[in-house]
C-alpha cells in the first residue's frame, strides 16, 4: 500500500487518520501492518530537504511492498508510512511526533529533518520508548542525552573534516594557513568548528573564521576581507545555494587557494552545472554519493542498483539526503527481520547490535546511538566529474591541488 497522493485518496486517508481517535478497537485487527511515523517539513524554509527525505522513504517503500512486505518471523508485514507536515517549525515537529505515537500508534519513527528538530523530537520518542531513526542529524550535541531509542545514520561532523585535513597534511605540508567562512546555521556552523579543530591539531593556522547570515546573497565584502589573509586552504560551509554564490563570487575576485573545500554542495550535479569550470578541483565530503559502490544484503542489493532505481523513479541522481531516507528504511527493515517481529524492545536490541550491510554504507551504531562504522568519503571534482579520492579502497582518482581561476 504505497503512500496516498491524489486528492480523493487524501480525503479518504484524512478520514482514516481520524479513525484511531474515534474507535481504538479497530487498530488491533490490522496487526499485520507495520506503521512507521515520519514528521516531514513539506512547507516552509526546509521544504526542499523535506521533499528529498520523502522521496528516499518512498523509493524504499516501493521496493519493500514490491517484494511483498517485510518478513517478520512467519508473517509478511505490509508497510505503511504515516507522515505529517510540520511546516519547518521545530515545536510543531515535536507536537506531531507526539501525535504519531499517541494517536496513530505508530510502531517506529523516522526523525524530522536536521539536528535541532531531531534532538527535540527524540525526547518524545525516548519517553515513549519508541525506536527513533535519525536520517539527517550529524551534530554530536543531538546524541549527548544518553537516549537508548535514538539511532543516527550519519557519523559525527568531525569525520568530515579529519580525512581532508589528513590528506592535505600528508600531500601538501606547505599548507600553513586556512580561512573558514561558515553559514550561521546549526549544521554548517558545527561543521566549521570541526574544521577549525582539525586544522589546529595539525598546526595549520586559522587566519580567518567568519559566519555569514542565513539568506546572505552578496558575499563580496566577506571574500574581499578573506583574500587579504592570503590563505592556502579555504573552507566554506553552507547549503547548495550559498555555495554556488560563494564559488562564483570567489572567482569574481580571483581568489584561488591551493585547496578549496566546500561542504555539501559540490557533490550535487546541480552545483557542478551552476558553477561550470569553476568546479574544477574543489574538494568536498559527504556521507553518500552515487559514485560509491557498496555491495549490500538489503532490498537494493548494491549502491549502483539503488542509484539506478532512484534515477528511474525521479529522473535524477540521488543526493545524500535522498539516499539517507532510503537507508534508514533499509536498516529498520533488517532489524525487524532479524528480530522476527515488531516488538520494540527486540528491534531496539537488534539496532544496537548494528552490523547492517546497506547500499549507503556498512552501518553500526556507537554507544551514543551515532553511527561510527564508516568514514564519509572525500570527493573532488575533476574534469566536471565527481571522483572519490579517500578512503584508499574506494578511491577512483588522485588528489589534485590548485583551483581554477
Amino acid at each position: 500500500m504505497s503512500l496516498r497522493r491524489t486528492l480523493s485518496q487524501r480525503t479518504l486517508w484524512a478520514a482514516f487518520a481520524l479513525l484511531p481517535l474515534l474507535s481504538p478497537g479497530i487498530g488491533q485487527a490490522a496487526q499485520d501492518t507495520l506503521r512507521i511515523g515520519a514528521p516531514l517539513p513539506l512547507t516552509g524554509a526546509l521544504a526542499p530537504e523535506g521533499t528529498k527525505l520523502r522521496q528516499g522513504y518512498e523509493l524504499w517503500l516501493d521496493q519493500v511492498n514490491a517484494q511483498g512486505g517485510i518478513k517478520a518471523g512467519d508473517r509478511q508485514l505490509r508497510v505503511e508510512l504515516r507522515f505529517y507536515d510540520y511546516q519547518s517549525s521545530t515545536p510543531k515537529a515535536v507536537q506531531l511526533t507526539e501525535k504519531l505515537i499517541t494517536d496513530d500508534r505508530v510502531d517506529f519513527l523516522f526523525s524530522p529533518f536536521g539536528s535541532g528538530a531531531a534532538k527535540a523530537a527524540s525526547a518524545v520518542a525516548e519517553k515513549n520508548g519508541v525506536p527513533f531513526l535519525a536520517s539527517s542529524a550529524s551534530s554530536a550535541e543531538v546524541f549527548d542525552q544518553g537516549y537508548r531509542n535514538l539511532f543516527g545514520l550519519y557519523t559525527d561532523n568531525s569525520t568530515l573534516s579529519e580525512p581532508i585535513a589528513d590528506l592535505i597534511h600528508a600531500r601538501l605540508p606547505k599548507v600553513s594557513k586556512v580561512a573558514i567562512l561558515a553559514r550561521n546555521d546549526l549544521y554548517p556552523l558545527s561543521l566549521a568548528n570541526e574544521f577549525e579543530k582539525s586544522a589546529r591539531k595539525r598546526g595549520i593556522e586559522v587566519v580567518y573564521f567568519e559566519r555569514y547570515a542565513i539568506g546572505t546573497l552578496d558575499h563580496a565584502a566577506a571574500l574581499a576581507k578573506l583574500a587579504t589573509t592570503r590563505p592556502d586552504w579555504v573552507v566554506i560551509t553552507g547549503y547548495i545555494n550559498d555555495l554556488i554564490l560563494v564559488r562564483r563570487q570567489m572567482a569574481d575576485q580571483h581568489i584561488a587557494p591551493e585547496v578549496l573545500t566546500m561542504i555539501n554542495g559540490p557533490a550535487y550535479d546541480e552545483w557542478i552545472r551552476a558553477v561550470g569550470p569553476q568546479a574544477e578541483n574543489v574538494t568536498t565530503a559527504s556521507w553518500f554519493h552515487p559514485v560509491l559502490s557498496y555491495k549490500s544484503d538489503d532490498v537494493f542489493g548494491s549502491t549502483g542498483r539503488f542509484v539506478e532505481l532512484f534515477r528511474q523513479k525521479y529522473g535524477s541522481a540521488p543526493d545524500f539526503t535522498q539516499a539517507s531516507g532510503a537507508a534508514v528504511g533499509v536498516i529498520l527493515q533488517q532489524a525487524i527481520e532479524r528480530a522476527g517481529g515488531v516488538d520494540r524492545d527486540a528491534v531496539r536490541a537488534e539496532l544496537a547490535k548494528g552490523g547492517f550491510n546497506t547500499f549507503f554504507a556498512p552501518v553500526s551504531f556507537g554507544p551514543s546511538g551515532m553511527a561510527d562504522s564508516y568514514i564519509p568519503p572525500v570527493y573532488q571534482i575533476q574534469d566536471g566529474k565527481v571522483q572519490v579520492i579517500y578512503p584508499r579502497e574506494l578511491a577512483t582518482g588522485e588528489f589534485r591541488t590548485g583551483v581554477g581561476r
Binding site: 546572505t216 552578496d218 545555494n241
Partner: protein, 288 residues
C-alpha cells in the same frame, strides 16, 4: 586596494537596489499602503526571467521590462478588486491584507516552482571588468545600469506623461486631484501596477546575478524597507540615493563587523532613521 574593491562592490549594487525599492516607495507614497507583496512580486519577476532564459535564451537584463509588463495587468486587477476596499482604512488593515496576499503568492510559488534555488547560467559566463586590480563583475554592472535606467525612466514618466502627473497629483492631495477631474481609483490602480512593473523588472535583473527561490522574498522586502526610509519616502531620487547608500553600508559594514552582521546593520540603521529622521536623506515628510 581592499577599500577600493569594497567601494566598488557597494556601488555595483546601488542601481539594482534602487530598482528593488522604487516600486515599493511609489506604492507607499501614492497609495499610503505598505505593500508586503513587493518581495514576492520581485521573486515572480525573477522566475519569469529564468523561464524566458531557459526557453528562448533571452538575457535577464534585456527581459526586465517584459517581466515588469507581465505583472502590470494582474497588479492593476488586484488593486481594483481587493486593495481598493481598504484604501484610506487604518494602517492595520492594509498591512495585514498585503501580508495575507503575500502569504498566498509566496506559497503559490513554493507549490508551483518548488523551493529549490534556480540559477540563470550564462554560457559563456559574462566575466568581469578589471579596473586596475579592482574587479567589477559584468553581471552586476549590467544589472545596476539597467536598474538605474528603469528608475530614471519611471521618474521621467511621472514628470512628463498625463498618467504620471495624475499619480503625482493624487500623491500630493487626493481630494484636490479628484476635484481636478482625475479619476482617483483608476490612478491608484495604475500606480500600484507601476509598482508591480518595477518589482518584476527588478526581479528579472536579480535573476541575472543571484539564485532565485520563493524563500528569498522576505529578504528583498526587508531591503526595500531600509532603502525607502533611508532615501526618503515616495521620491524616486530618494530611492536612488537610498539604494547606493544601502549598498555601501552593507559592503563596508561587512568589512568592519563581519558578514553575519550585514543584515543587522541595515535593520538597526532603519530603526535609528525612523526614530530621528523619518523623512530620510532626501524625502519630504512621509504621508501619514
Amino acid at each position: 586596494m581592499t577599500y577600493l574593491q569594497v567601494l566598488i562592490n557597494g556601488l555595483a549594487l546601488g542601481g539594482l537596489y534602487a530598482c528593488i525599492a522604487a516600486g515599493f516607495s511609489l506604492v507607499w507614497g501614492v497609495l499610503n499602503i505598505i505593500n508586503l507583496l513587493h518581495g514576492s512580486l520581485i521573486v515572480l519577476g525573477a522566475y519569469l526571467a529564468y523561464f524566458a532564459h531557459q526557453a528562448w535564451g533571452i538575457s535577464p537584463f534585456v527581459f526586465a521590462p517584459a517581466a515588469g509588463l507581465a505583472l502590470f495587468l494582474p497588479a492593476f486587477l488586484i488593486q481594483r478588486t481587493i486593495l481598493e476596499r481598504v484604501m484610506g482604512k487604518p494602517v492595520l488593515a492594509t498591512l495585514i491584507l498585503t501580508f495575507g496576499l503575500n502569504l498566498f503568492l509566496d506559497n503559490a510559488m513554493l507549490y508551483g516552482f518548488k523551493a529549490d534555488f534556480r540559477k540563470v547560467i550564462f554560457d559563456p559566463p559574462l566575466g568581469l571588468l578589471d579596473l586596475g586590480g579592482v574587479l567589477l563583475p559584468l553581471d552586476r554592472f549590467y544589472a545596476t545600469v539597467a536598474g538605474l535606467a528603469l528608475v530614471l525612466a519611471v521618474w521621467a514618466l511621472l514628470r512628463t506623461t498625463h498618467f504620471g502627473r495624475a499619480i503625482v497629483a493624487v500623491r500630493m492631495d487626493r481630494e484636490a486631484a479628484a476635484l481636478m477631474g482625475i479619476e482617483v481609483p483608476r490612478t491608484y490602480a495604475l500606480a500600484f501596477a507601476l509598482g508591480a512593473f518595477m518589482a518584476g523588472a527588478a526581479g528579472s535583473l536579480l535573476s541575472g546575478i543571484f539564485p532565485i527561490s520563493p524563500v528569498a522574498s522576505s529578504l528583498y522586502l526587508g531591503k526595500a524597507f531600509v532603502i525607502c526610509v533611508l532615501g526618503g519616502l515616495g521620491s524616486l531620487p530618494g530611492v536612488i540615493a537610498g539604494g547606493f547608500a544601502l549598498g555601501l553600508i552593507e559592503s563596508f559594514g561587512t568589512l568592519a563587523l563581519g558578514p553575519e552582521l550585514a543584515l543587522t546593520v541595515a535593520f538597526v540603521l532603519l530603526i535609528l532613521l525612523l526614530m530621528f529622521r523619518p523623512t530620510g536623506l532626501l524625502g519630504r515628510q512621509g504621508f501619514q
